[in-house]
């Protein structure tokens, strides 16, 4: 093949944008693919209200100014396949608005692939979580920042992790009253690690968190730890929630339940789950729900690198450092011209990010007590309306002992979200029922079709690898 090598970066968040810039500066052609209209990912959310104004933030400006980067926006990768050369991949994508048929189908050949698909927020089920008005903290923040719309007038925030704070602040900014922020964990343990956290997370991040805490205090928002919303109530919509004190295992302390009413929205977030379908489709090794990478962000699959929250959650600064390193490594491996000094500098920041991620995980673990809140009728899977009782029967009555067969036995994870919301929770519940993790915990993350494609669009696609590669 005489064409110059090309890197395809999937995901244009902090990690992907940095990866594209680093590879392009290394002299390599880059295609940066993202399903969203603009560069920035989850962190740099854009107000969509004024599309005409197109004020670019710095990351976006750098991408636009870099001639070797082709940015495909509103372009969703729906499948990966082995490419014509060892280590190369075919990247199948569709471009255009998700709401309409007739999205353009395209296939790129990637000589190296950098997967920066980020993460999405996790929700743990509890009685009433299916009521309209119960949303993820991430969705509430996206709505508030992206569309300047509040999910409700009187809102409760509950879950675990530092992300609850910016989510709550974004609600205040959008005009909501926040009736309380309930953190299930005990982040005061964080203080013990403060010096290390300062070093690894960077002072900017901690200052940011402090500013959120300050904003919540100014608005007199009650913020409590070791507490969580354990039930939501309402007739056709959330109208009240029950908050309870939690013991160390996250079991409800008896008698501590208290109803908060009225509320018209509840935001829930229990940390983040990496978006694994593309790494799994590329054959990357995944451990503990994260893509395994080496010291240069290379995955176990030849020609595939991963960066950002797919490898673990440590915030946007760490994601950007990983992206930079992945972009440098991909470019160096393709052109055999490595820039050791830059790689070393990026690698040092990446190591700090990894330590910070580990500290985050240690401070905000998910405790198994959440499972005890589920009753016979609590929904586990909202799309297919599968209750906990049905999931349990699949395991105990039918003897189904793997996620793949449990899915087919009780339909958990077979609906519109394809297990993105419920898959991990179901796997955890099954582990509790079996007394061991199911053999194929990742079955609910494996989606060879990474995104829905309309049948007619699929039919219109080009056959074979593209002529120009």
């Amino acid at each position: 093949m005489t064409a110059p090598p090309r890197v395809v970066v999937v995901g244009a968040g902090p990690a992907g944008a940095r990866a594209a810039l680093a590879a392009a500066r290394g002299g390599i052609r880059v295609v940066l693919v993202d399903g969203e209209p603009r560069v920035g990912g989850q962190y740099h959310r854009h107000p969509l209200a004024e599309p005409g104004s197109r004020r670019l933030h710095p990351l976006e400006r750098s991408v636009v100014a870099q001639p070797r980067i082709e940015h495909l926006s509103r372009a969703t990768v729906w499948a990966l396949e082995a490419g014509p050369r060892p280590g190369s991949h075919l990247v199948h994508l569709q471009q255009g608005s998700a709401d309409a048929a007739g999205r353009t189908q395209r296939t790129l050949v990637a000589d190296a692939l950098v997967l920066c698909t980020g993460a999405y927020d996790r929700v743990l089920p509890f009685p009433g979580w299916e009521l309209p008005g119960v949303v993820t903290a991430g969705a509430a923040r996206a709505l508030a920042v992206g569309q300047r719309t509040a999910v409700g007038r009187r809102v409760v925030v509950s879950g675990t992790g530092p992300f609850l704070l910016p989510a709550a602040v974004s609600l205040l900014t959008a005009g909501s009253r926040v009736a309380g922020v309930y953190e299930a964990g005990k982040p005061s343990r964080w203080l013990r690690n403060l010096p290390a956290a300062l070093r690894d997370g960077g002072p900017a991040l901690l200052a940011e968190l402090a500013s959120y805490a300050g904003a919540l205090a100014r608005h007199r928002v009650p913020c409590r730890s070791r507490r969580a919303v354990v039930a939501a109530h309402g007739d056709g919509r959330v109208e009240a929630v029950t908050v309870a004190r939690l013991d160390a295992r996250w079991g409800v302390v008896p008698g501590s339940e208290r109803v908060i009413a009225p509320v018209d929205a509840l935001c829930v977030g229990y940390g983040f789950l990496p978006q694994l379908e593309l790494p799994l489709a590329a054959g990357c090794l995944v451990r503990d729900g994260r893509v395994v990478v080496d010291a240069r962000q290379a995955t176990s699959a030849p020609g595939v690198y991963a960066a950002g929250e797919v490898t673990g959650v440590a915030g946007p600064v760490a994601a950007a450092a990983e992206g930079e390193l992945a972009g440098l490594a991909a470019a160096a491996d393709l052109s055999r011209a490595c820039v050791p000094a830059r790689e070393a500098a990026a690698a040092a920041r990446v190591r700090a990010g990894r330590r910070f991620a580990a500290a985050l995980e240690e401070t905000y673990p998910i405790r198994e007590g959440w499972r005890s809140r589920l009753t016979e009728d609590t929904l586990v899977c909202r799309c297919e309306e599968v209750t906990y009782g049905q999931l349990r029967d699949a395991v105990t009555d039918r003897g189904a002992d793997a996620m793949r067969t449990i899915k087919l036995t009780c339909r958990v994870g077979l609906g519109a979200c394809q297990g993105r919301i419920c898959g991990r929770n179901a796997a955890d519940l099954v582990a509790g029922l079996l007394g061991r993790p199911p053999a194929d915990t990742l079955a609910t993350d494996r989606r060879p079709l990474a995104h829905p494609v309309r049948l007619g669009d699929l039919a219109s696609g080009p056959d074979g690898p593209p002529a120009t590669c």
Binding site: A79, E81, A82, L90, H92, A101, T107, E384, D393, D397, R398, G399, A400, D401, A402, R404, T405, L408, T409, R411, L414, A416, Q418, P438, A439, D440, R447, P448, L449, P452, V453, R454, L455, G456, L458, A459, G461, D463, G464
Partner: protein, 392 residues
Amino acid sequence: MRVLGEGVDVVVVGGGIVGAACAEALTRRGVRVLLAERGPLAGQTTARGDGRLLISDKPPGPGLTLAMASLRRWPLLLAALREELGPARAACEYERKGGLAVAVRAEEAAALRELAAAQRSAGADARELTPDEAIGREPHLTPAVRAAVHYPEDARLQPVLAATALLAAVRARGGEIRTGVHVLSVLTGADGWVVGVQTPDGPLPCGAVVNAGGPRAGTLAEAAGASLPVLPRYGTVLVTAPLPPGTVRHTVHGTVAGGPPVVVGAAPGGQVLISSGRRRAGADEALRADDLRALARCTAALFPVLAGVPVLRAYGGFHPGTPDGLPVIGEDPRHPGLWHAAGHAGAGVALAAATGELLGQLFTGEPPLVDPEPFRVARPGLGLAEEENRCP
């Protein structure tokens, strides 16, 4: 059959739909069974199957005969399980929705009519429809349809539910089911008879072994020193978002414009499952975008209404195929005490009910429900060397 003082009468290797059906048929006859499965129950090919119980796609011959017997056997078997286990534990979404084979091009229309006539003379219920009648039964079918045949006996069930229900009956009768047990080889005594199977945790004594290893049945046979040509062929499935009831009413299969034959049918939840009649040889498990596109093209041509529908899921799996397209059911003459129930290709779910029954009957010496000859290991169609086939 030999009865051993120690151990069970039979070790069934494989907890897919075929192994489950064999274990059910054997335990119903009072045979003591241990089912050994290396992975999760019903987790391999059976978890990939669409669960279509079809005679429509079978040309006349022993395959059609076995399919007709099996399609008639399934509702009886399920009724008995319901009786034994109660409705909830026996439920498996069985639905006799009927099949429709359609053709669009003139030469395919002629071939379809010919096939239906031959199936009819073999005793199958295959009713020719006019294009108008076909569209009356299946309103969203392309108006270009030229020939159609209705198969009222075609049905559908959910293979994992069916397998787990069969296994529940096995357990209820005292049969033992063990997962995580990889059968490495078959052990024989001084007289050449089976005395057990070898596992990483030691031997399991038994008087006979049923090889129901699906696409890996050949591997176990090989380890037992009796090669069996069961080869994997990869097939692909697309699943759409749920559609309003009645969008696709039958299991419809057809070929359009030189594409692969496609089979289109709705699950109880309204999702439409689309699978290909064309399969790729070899052990390569990767999904190919071109295969998905070819499937999509044919489906959109058969059902133009589906063009706007999102495909939510795609997956594939290995069909355990044999050279002559027929399963292998019966004792291996080269290896007394080793039985096979394997090589069911793309119809193992459909054929499981009759397969288990036939194996049970042959095992206990009852008259068989179909002629077992065409399914014997020693038939010429398997292409096993002459001297390998000779009886000891």
